[in-house]
């Protein structure tokens, strides 16, 4: 399996060269702008070339890219203000889920996001973005807060999976996922989910039973990790790329299947090359949906959400 670093290698090399030239120009006071412009054009050509023909597996790698912006990055970039709140009020505060009150484009929002860690230490502290039951219970507390104070809910989904460990099992990880979905279904305020990175199975849909579900262009959303699927299907986890294709876990496939409501485009070269622009795109897409949803009455919001999911499913009827 190719890693994301191999795909990006030629681009990264060009970018290094450009940076070196710029440094050189600065230090020696020389005009290397023509050379730089040429390299930049080359970089852009290469990027376009690579990103025009991304496989499902490439997108899996992009969704998991270690430099990909995480929930708090986007929150910081797209909100006018944000105050994180803590705790499930049941004995725990799960760092794999962040939640709080934020302002964005005139809206006051409850925001709940799955948060991976950037360096090794934070990654461990945030359990690689794998929420435990207390994470979903903190989310539910925030959903109820949103309902009480009539605030729309924005969730940012980015998790490989819910935590599968003994501790999580012993505190009811399954129940917490089911309850989180049920709580979202009972709300009468607008709710929007954006899959920003990995939409990993039950761990993801727990936060995505919303009026609208959007995906970033290179995010993935899947019932099973491609490696797990490959292990079952081909008895070989290394065939994950084939499994990724079969699972149709990319944003474009999900939209074709009618499972999501829109794709938020990423800048050329994916979100990690321009978090700012990506954040503004998310912001614009969310605000647009909020405007539409704000036209609906509380009961209509609940009913729209019910029907949205009720109608998903493909089957035949025998005579």
């Amino acid at each position: 399996m190719m890693t994301i670093f191999e795909i990006e290698k030629p681009i990264n090399e060009l970018e290094s060269a450009i940076a070196e030239l710029r440094q050189l120009a600065l230090e020696k006071g020389l005009d290397r702008s023509r050379e730089i412009a040429e390299l930049e054009a080359q970089r852009e050509r290469l990027l376009r070339q690579i990103f025009e023909h991304l496989s499902a597996w490439d997108k899996v790698l992009l969704a998991r890219h270690p430099k990909r912006p995480y929930a708090l990055d986007y929150i910081r970039l797209m909100c006018e203000s944000f105050m994180e709140l803590h705790g499930d009020r049941l004995g725990f505060d799960d760092p794999a889920i962040v939640a709080g009150l934020g302002k964005m484009g005139g809206y006051k929002l409850v925001i709940v996001g799955q948060q991976k860690g950037r360096d090794l230490k934070e990654r461990q502290q945030r359990n690689f973005g794998m929420a435990k039951p207390e994470g979903y219970r903190k989310a539910m507390r925030m959903f109820r807060l949103a309902e009480k104070f009539r605030l729309p809910v924005l969730t940012l989904v980015d998790t490989p999976a819910a935590d599968p460990g003994v501790e999580s099992e012993s505190r009811g990880i399954s129940e917490s996922i089911a309850q989180s979905m049920l709580t979202l279904f009972e709300l009468t305020v607008p709710t929007i989910a954006v899959i920003i990175g990995e939409g990993g199975s039950g761990g993801a849909i727990a936060l995505a039973a919303t009026n609208r579900v959007l995906m970033l262009e290179y995010a993935i959303y899947s019932v099973i990790p491609p490696e797990g699927c490959a292990a079952i299907l081909y008895r070989d986890p290394n065939k994950a790329p084939q499994a990724a294709e079969a699972l149709k876990l990319t944003a474009d496939r999900a939209l074709e299947l009618g499972l999501i409501d829109g794709i938020i485009p990423e800048p050329l070269g994916a979100a990690h090359r321009d978090p700012q622009t990506t954040a503004l795109s998310i912001r614009a897409a969310v605000l647009q949906q909020l405007e539409t949803l704000s036209q609906l009455s509380p009961e209509e919001l609940r009913e729209q959400r019910y029907q949205r999911f009720r109608n998903i499913g493909v089957f035949q009827t025998a005579q």
């Binding site: 460990g165 279904f185 039950g202 899947s222 999911f309 499913g313 025998a318």
Partner: protein
């Protein structure tokens, strides 16, 4: 996974317990509802057997039997697996739903069949579960769900994940009518089914020894589930951890359901 006791080498009237390996006299075994008369192990039941053992005689009316899985993703081997599921289980899908009476109480009932693709939940299971809850909400009837599932049906990709949300929403619809919903976790009740409609029942019963948990054993193993207790992911473990109301031997399931219906119906 071996679905139920059946070892071809021994004559028809004998059957071997898959737990203690004792040879049992089939009529005794059947009379004990496929619970080992020696060690008490609860062998898996097909959905039809379960219905037979649970509801009032001749009261079951199947609904939505005409629904059939499509192959929306054109997923490798799916069509073949479906055919095999029909052949081995004798059912068209991994759940049977319908109406019935139990001790005279009119109920909506759903029974999953692990023999059909491991009881996995795809579009048809999701739709049948959803219709069952919707029908119960509309007609103000209680729902009883016997769960037996390995989780979501991978072969329908994201569509099957969505069935978790869809069935959850349907449970919410029933909840608002204040009609009782009782779930029975049988061996196994896992992953996508456990993490959606199954866990949302007002009262949850489980059969002794049933496998009940979130992550499949492969995932759990990868996650370093080594310091797990001996009874990890069993009904008994979940009961200790407050997720199950009662562990009920098969023989007692029917009277327990009858009592609960009596107590919770208006």
């Amino acid at each position: 996974m071996q679905r139920r006791a059946a070892v071809s080498m021994i004559p028809e009237q004998w059957v071997q317990c898959i737990k203690c390996k004792k040879i049992l006299f089939r009529p005794d075994f059947e009379r004990a509802l496929r619970v080992c008369t020696h060690c008490g192990y609860h062998h898996r039941l097909s959905a039809r057997e379960r219905i037979l053992y649970t509801v009032d005689p001749d009261s079951f009316r199947e609904t939505d039997a005409e629904l059939r899985s499509a192959d929306p993703l054109g997923f490798p081997e799916y069509a073949e697996k479906l055919r095999k599921g029909v052949a081995t289980s004798g059912e068209q899908e991994a759940i049977i739903t319908g109406t019935a009476t139990l001790n005279g109480y009119e109920i909506v009932i759903g029974v999953m069949d692990f023999g059909f693709m491991g009881g996995s939940m795809g579009s048809v299971v999701g739709e049948k579960v959803t219709r069952a809850f919707e029908r119960a909400a509309e007609r103000k009837l209680p729902v009883i769900m016997f769960c037996a599932s390995g989780g979501a049906r991978m072969q329908e990709g994201l569509i099957s994940l969505m069935q978790m949300a869809k069935t959850t929403a349907a449970v919410g619809k029933l909840h608002r009518t204040r009609m009782p919903y009782i779930a029975v976790f049988t061996d196994p009740t896992m992953a996508g089914v456990l993490a959606s409609f199954a866990s949302l029942a007002d009262v949850i019963l489980a059969e002794p020894g049933a496998l009940v948990g979130f992550a499949g054993q492969r995932v759990a193993a990868q996650a370093g589930v080594s310091k797990a207790p001996a009874n990890f992911q069993t009904a008994e473990f979940q009961y200790e951890h407050g997720m199950i109301d009662l562990i009920v031997p098969r023989r007692q399931i029917r009277p327990t359901l009858a009592y609960l219906l009596e107590m919770l119906l208006p």
